[in-house]
């Protein structure tokens, strides 16, 4: 593809009703006091901050997952969806989640301008797992 043929904004609408619903009424958005571990990350260029709390059950399975923070609709909605998606998964299963899985969760691909917003929650969670395992 030559530089002139790129049409970067052909993506589907990221602001579908389901995503806006998660953004308006985020699930599991609360500070967890008895978390097994927590992880915090900031995206300075957006002014976003994300904190994720993990409570582990048997077999390194996530028993409860919550988040707190401020940010755009995409980062907040993805965090909300991820808390539902990752609960019950093992830490290894979470570490295997990729950009593709986030797109599936959102029901759409996210362009380069917003990819960091969409990946903030998963990256924060993975960073927490890596630190927990150290």
């Amino acid at each position: 593809m030559t530089a002139q043929n790129i049409e970067p904004c052909g993506e589907a609408d990221v602001y579908r009703e389901e995503i806006l619903d998660h953004s308006r009424q985020p699930r599991n958005k609360q500070v967890m006091i008895d978390a097994t571990f927590k992880s915090q990350r900031r995206n300075m260029s957006c002014g976003d901050s994300m904190e994720i709390f993990v409570k582990l059950g048997e077999g390194e399975k996530v028993a409860q997952l919550t988040f707190d923070g401020v940010g755009c609709a995409i980062s907040q909605a993805t965090a909300s969806m991820l808390t539902e998606e990752a609960t019950g998964k093992t830490l290894d299963e979470i570490m295997a989640l990729s950009e593709r899985d986030i797109f599936e969760l959102l029901g759409t691909e996210v362009g380069p301008a917003r990819i960091r917003c969409a990946m903030l929650a998963l990256e924060t969670l993975k960073k927490g797992i890596e630190e927990y395992r150290k």
Binding site: C9, R24, I74
Partner: protein, 408 residues
């Protein structure tokens, strides 16, 4: 709008292209980069097609013509800003112009010296001084703003003093639209023998700018924000100030003599233009200057002033919208920043973009200002000579749409 007579959108090919593709197109991002008129494209095209050669030293027709056109561009830009041709140094843009001065001057500073900037500086006039302060140990002092988004002149008068060696100030804020009293503060800083640099990236091409009248030593601007091509801009420097400044880049053209042991610099401004310059860019920028002068700088300024007032008035009618900048009753630039409660500027700008309303959302390369204002960013609409009231109507309609979408 009865007060709006002239629509110049046909001068700018992107309008035809976007309309041809059947897309809505309301370009309100001129503060980031202005559109380019046909005559600029044609001037550059002519160079590439009919006298494509390097400048200086070529002893054949095309090179002689390229040299003459390149130097005529310098003279045209000099006249435009009321400077002498040898006071115009071509650079990649305002960022390179500011870095050129900062690199050359910072190394001369002592630990007790102070450099003064403002909290509303673009990163291009913030980061170099911050980094050099760490490297050379001088003190960086930052003039704050008032609640009305104006430079705090009282504080400025306290900060600028005998220790001030450099005052580097933005003329018009790219976020707030605030116009700073650069002439007044330049005179004050000069009383203490300081060097004064003005970041004029948002003022040149948007209001009459007179280098001699401003009284600063250096002035930086970008061609692509003044209807010229990308990759070209200039540093305007008082001849005596440029003469004292060390070169920033070494290479061809900037030297008069090179031996195995030493080098002698070329004359000002050539000692700052190492390597083959952006010839087409300079020719294009000169054509942009012609375009602006044909319309008239007063007319350009009036056009933006009226649109700015209209935008502020219309946006202010929307619930939960706050204008982040001085009111339309002030002498201000045409960058209109605003925030909408509970909607992140990236979400807003993204959805506006889907509606063909091209604005910018975020920190606008002014993160220290955003921290000061305690905002994650703003959404910014900005105007050019092609902008029309209907573009603002489309913006207002789209902002209302986003509010409904997010609020339901």
């Amino acid at each position: 709008m009865s007060w709006f007579k002239k629509n110049r959108q046909n001068d700018f090919p992107t309008y035809k292209f976007e309309r041809g593709a059947g897309r809505p197109y309301h370009f309100l991002d001129s503060a980031a980069s202005a559109l380019t008129p046909k005559i600029v494209l044609e001037a550059m095209d002519l160079y590439y097609r009919t006298y494509r050669a390097n400048v200086h030293r070529g002893l054949y027709r095309a090179s002689a013509k390229a040299t003459a056109s390149y130097e005529a561009a310098r003279e045209n830009i000099a006249n435009f800003l009321h400077a002498a041709p040898e006071e115009v140094v071509f650079t990649r843009g305002a960022t390179e112009s500011l870095n050129l001065v900062a690199y050359s001057l910072a190394a001369t500073l002592q630990p007790e010296d102070e450099v003064v900037i403002s909290i509303m500086e673009h990163h291009a006039n913030f980061v170099p001084w911050q980094q050099f302060a760490q490297r050379f140990g001088f003190k960086l002092r930052i003039i704050p703003i008032t609640k009305n988004f104006e430079l705090d002149k009282e504080e400025a008068r306290k900060i600028i003093g005998p220790k001030t060696k450099i005052l580097s100030l933005v003329h018009v804020s790219n976020v707030l639209g605030t116009v700073n009293p650069v002439k007044e503060l330049s005179a004050l800083a000069h009383q203490y023998g300081a060097t004064v640099i003005v970041d004029a990236a948002q003022s040149v091409g948007h209001r009459p700018v007179d280098f001699a009248e401003l009284g600063c030593d250096f002035l930086a601007f970008s061609g692509h924000k003044t209807y010229g091509p990308t990759g070209i801009g200039a540093l305007i420097g008082r001849y005596s100030a440029l003469s004292q400044l060390s070169p920033f880049l070494y290479g061809g053209e900037m030297i008069a003599e090179v031996t195995k042991e030493y080098s002698v610099w070329n004359e000002v401004p050539h000692k700052f233009e190492a390597g083959t310059p952006n010839i087409a860019g300079a020719i294009g920028l000169s054509a942009a200057v012609d375009y602006m002068q044909e319309i008239g700088l007063d007319e350009l300024a009036k056009h933006e002033r009226e649109l700015t007032a209209y935008a502020i008035a219309q946006l202010s009618t929307i619930e939960d919208v706050t204008i982040i900048g001085p009111g339309a009753d002030q002498d201000r630039g045409g960058a209109v920043s605003f925030s909408v409660e509970n909607i992140h500027p990236h979400d807003l700008a993204h959805i506006l973009g889907n509606h063909g309303v091209c604005v910018r959302g975020g920190h606008h390369c002014a993160m220290p200002l955003m921290q000061e204002l305690d905002l994650p960013g703003t959404t910014r609409a900005s105007f050019g000579i092609y902008s029309q009231p209907k573009d603002i109507d489309a913006l207002v309609k789209a902002v209302k749409y986003v509010r409904n979408k997010f609020g339901s």
